[in-house]
């Protein structure tokens, strides 16, 4: 035998599922929503998505370069952030809005804290919140779907109608489910988001605990609080939040118990904001708030090592 042998710690084989494949699966899961957004809001939707993704990827590339760190755009996480950010914007925003959002998400929220795995809140969501507070009018100007924003009058989102008591103006459940309602690019079509969510669960990318608990909590609590539970789960950002944002690995708990507590609290806060606060929508704030509390949940949900719990047998 000639040549040297590699000596390394076991195990000597590893699963083919790598970070990049996971991110690619998330992108694939977002494609139905992308198609729906272009269908309902026109080519403008594609422009916003492209602007947002390009900003995120370029910002990440430059950041890593400036910080003299190894390049990480190949892991595709910046692409996922870019798509999710665009999906949280109305179709009518000027192009500088996704660009500013992308810079905030990648530079401020992600890379300043050390890059992938180190951000303590979801970059796309915090960027959306900052945009909401910076451009409150632009961020809540909704145009009805199908008219592509040209020469039409802005209208209120279904959740805003619910908040103002204008229940008669609500679209049908079918329109809400399919996504034929005013709203952000990617959030309106519950159907498309659901297809993506089922794909992610089938591919074992996400556990169903967070989406099921989150959406279930909002449904039950809305009913208790005297709201229309179906409209509450189908309108606004609940599906995209529960399936794609709250399930972000980095900013959600590790254990199943932790995930359950986290999603339950997300649901409660969302309902409280929607029903009692002055804002019509509370998904973004509830997830970001819970992101911050994740370390505390982790501390309270450390699993008991094997053999330290007596089994009732």
């Amino acid at each position: 035998m000639d040549g040297k042998l590699i000596v390394s710690s076991s195990p000597h084989i590893s699963s083919p599922v790598k970070t990049k494949n996971i991110m690619l699966d998330v992108i694939i899961a977002l494609i139905p929503s992308l198609i729906a957004s272009i269908y309902f809001f026109g080519p403008r939707a594609a422009v916003i998505v492209i602007a947002s993704v390009a900003t995120c990827v370029i910002a990440e590339y430059i950041c890593r370069k400036v910080m003299k760190r190894e390049q990480t755009i190949g892991d595709l996480s910046a692409v996922v952030t870019g798509i999710l950010l665009a999906f949280n914007l109305p179709s009518s925003v000027p192009i500088y809005v996704p660009i500013i959002g992308g810079l905030v998400a990648i530079v401020m929220v992600k890379q300043m804290f050390g890059g992938l795995g180190q951000n303590f809140v979801n970059p796309a969501l915090l960027a959306r919140i900052i945009l909401m507070n910076s451009f409150p009018v632009l961020m809540t100007t909704w145009y009805p779907s199908g008219n592509f924003g040209a020469d039409t009058t802005a209208m209120a989102s279904p959740l805003a109608n619910i908040a103002t008591g204008n229940v008669d103006a609500l679209p049908s459940y079918m329109d809400m489910f399919i996504g034929n309602i005013p709203g952000c690019l990617g959030e309106t079509s519950a159907l498309a988001l659901l297809i993506g969510g089922i794909y992610l669960i089938a591919r074992k990318v996400i556990s169903p605990i967070i989406p099921v608990t989150y959406i279930g909590t909002v449904f039950v609590l809305s009913a208790i609080l005297g709201q229309d539970p179906v409209a509450q789960i189908l309108c606004g950002g609940l599906f995209i939040g529960a399936i794609f944002m709250a399930t972000d690995y980095v900013t959600s708990p590790l254990t199943n118990k932790g995930k359950f507590i986290y999603a339950l609290c997300c649901g409660i806060i969302t309902c409280l904001i929607r029903v009692f606060a002055s804002l019509p929508e509370g998904v973004s704030y509830s997830i970001v708030l819970m992101n911050i509390i994740v370390p505390l949940i982790e501390r309270a949900t450390v699993p008991k090592p094997f053999g330290t719990v007596k089994e009732a047998k």
């Binding site: 035998m1 590699i6 710690s9 195990p11 992938l116 556990s207 690995y249 199943n256």
Partner: protein, 442 residues
């Protein structure tokens, strides 16, 4: 029997599903064991078990036979060592072991005759004391890999209710245990019956993973008339063969951290150990050979080979047609828990059960990337630990966290590192973490 299965909810991801979906790669499961030619010389290491090393009891130029005692110890935790060949002792040497330590070894030049020591007789066993003494004289240690002296394991102070026979063989590639069942089932069952009789155990459970249907079928047929021996079909999800996991799967009992199987009324024996014991009680020939699986992308002809203990690994690989291309990694044991060897000059030890040679593509180690807190390691850990937290605790040398997250409970099965999408060296961190904790004296 209690069979832990997370079922539908588990496959949907609602509940934790411990373990890892490792590939099986049991290419050699139908390969009958072949005997390798007697090597020119063997190197019999004096430390082939957990416990005190043996002292050589032969000297250079001594004539030895197959089964001649060549090393023994007066320590409680040890096991005698016998010559695997007939020939002449060349020298007593000091050799480097795969783990970096040094050990004494007896180098024997073989005469090719394989004459069995004329003094060997079947042991006379009529009582528990005689049984334990016979087991001790056989040189048997845990053949699954740990090398725990069998006469100590079979002599616990607690009452034992279950004898768990480990035939899970959950490591990829290895098929030595399934061949033991297929080729040596009579001795396996005889060994089980004798252990039950003399140790005083009422029930034996043979755990076999469901990817070995031929072995399950055979054992079910052979045990059909035995009311106190049962075959337990285990799911093929690594690591069913880990001692604590096997006990839970077979009996529903959990061995607490730092405790032994006997503390929950169980003894676990590898199927090859009990099969050897069955044969030894009949013919008295001590442990001198071992069945090993030779496989991997850099092996010309994968085989199950019966090898004399002390044979150089390179001779075994030469018997399997040699290397295919240039080997990049040589592993003793399975790919999940086996040890990477720095050379093929090492001799075979009692507890070896496989040698795998990987080519460059298969041996390539992937660069770690950032942890994304996906929780796959937490979900996979059979010991219910949080490997990602332990890794951080190791990197930042946080002794309190290592203790809090129970690093000592880790059995280094490799599930966490296998499933990690970021290629984190989690098992390596666990090992370093344990050392940090030990050095901190906590």
């Amino acid at each position: 029997m209690a069979k832990q299965s997370s079922g539908l909810l588990g496959s949907l991801g609602f509940v934790k599903s411990p373990g890892a979906p490792v590939p099986h790669r049991k290419h050699t499961s139908a390969c009958e064991t072949v005997e390798m030619p007697v090597p020119a010389s063997v190197t019999i290491v004096m430390s082939q078990h957990i416990g005190a090393p043996c002292t050589p009891c032969v000297k250079a130029k001594d004539q030895v036979f197959v089964g001649t005692l060549v090393g023994e110890s007066t320590a409680f935790m040890s096991a005698p060592i016998h010559s695997s060949v007939s020939g002449t002792v060349k020298k007593i040497d000091t050799v480097l072991m795969p783990n970096g330590t040094k050990a004494q070894a007896i180098v024997i030049d073989t005469d090719g005759e394989q004459t069995v020591d004329p003094a060997i007789q079947p042991p006379v066993v009529n009582s528990k004391e005689e049984f334990i003494e016979a087991v001790k004289q056989s040189g048997l240690v845990g053949l699954g890999g740990a090398g725990f002296p069998a006469h100590i394991k079979l002599n616990p102070k607690d009452k034992i209710e279950y004898l768990c026979i480990n035939a899970a063989e959950c490591e990829p590639y290895i098929t030595a245990d399934v061949r033991e069942i297929m080729e040596n089932h009579e001795n396996v069952l005889y060994g089980i019956s004798q252990v039950m009789k003399y140790v005083g155990i009422d029930k034996a459970l043979i755990g076999i993973e469901d990817n070995k249907p031929e072995a399950i079928k055979l054992m079910q047929e052979k045990t059909a008339q035995m009311s106190n021996v049962e075959v337990v079909t285990l799911p093929s999800r690594y690591p069913q063969g880990a001692e604590k996991v096997l006990i839970e799967q077979c009996t529903g009992r959990q061995v607490p951290p730092g405790k032994l199987p006997s503390d929950v009324g169980c003894i676990v024996m590898n199927v090859a150990s009990v099969g050897f014991l069955g044969g030894y009680l009949k013919n008295g020939i001590p442990l001198t050979t071992k069945r090993v699986t030779v496989d991997g992308s850099a092996i010309t002809e994968a085989k199950n080979v019966r090898v004399p203990i002390g044979a150089p690994i390179k001779d075994i690989i030469a018997f399997c047609g040699g290397y295919k291309g240039t080997p990049a990694k040589l592993i003793s044991g399975g790919p999940m828990m086996g040890t990477a060897l720095m050379t093929d000059d090492f001799p075979v030890l009692k507890q070896n059960n496989a040698f795998l040679a990987f080519d460059e593509a298969e041996a390539k180690s992937l660069e770690p990337t950032a942890c994304i807190s996906c929780g796959r390691c937490v979900n996979a850990c059979p010991m219910n630990l949080m490997p990602t937290k332990l890794e951080a605790a190791t990197i930042y040398k946080r002794v309190d966290d290592l203790k809090k997250y129970s690093v000592m409970t880790c059995m280094e099965c490799g599930c966490c590192a296998f499933v990690c999408p970021a290629n984190r060296k989690l098992v390596q961190s666990m090992r370093i973490g344990k050392a940090i904790l030990r050095n901190a004296g906590k």
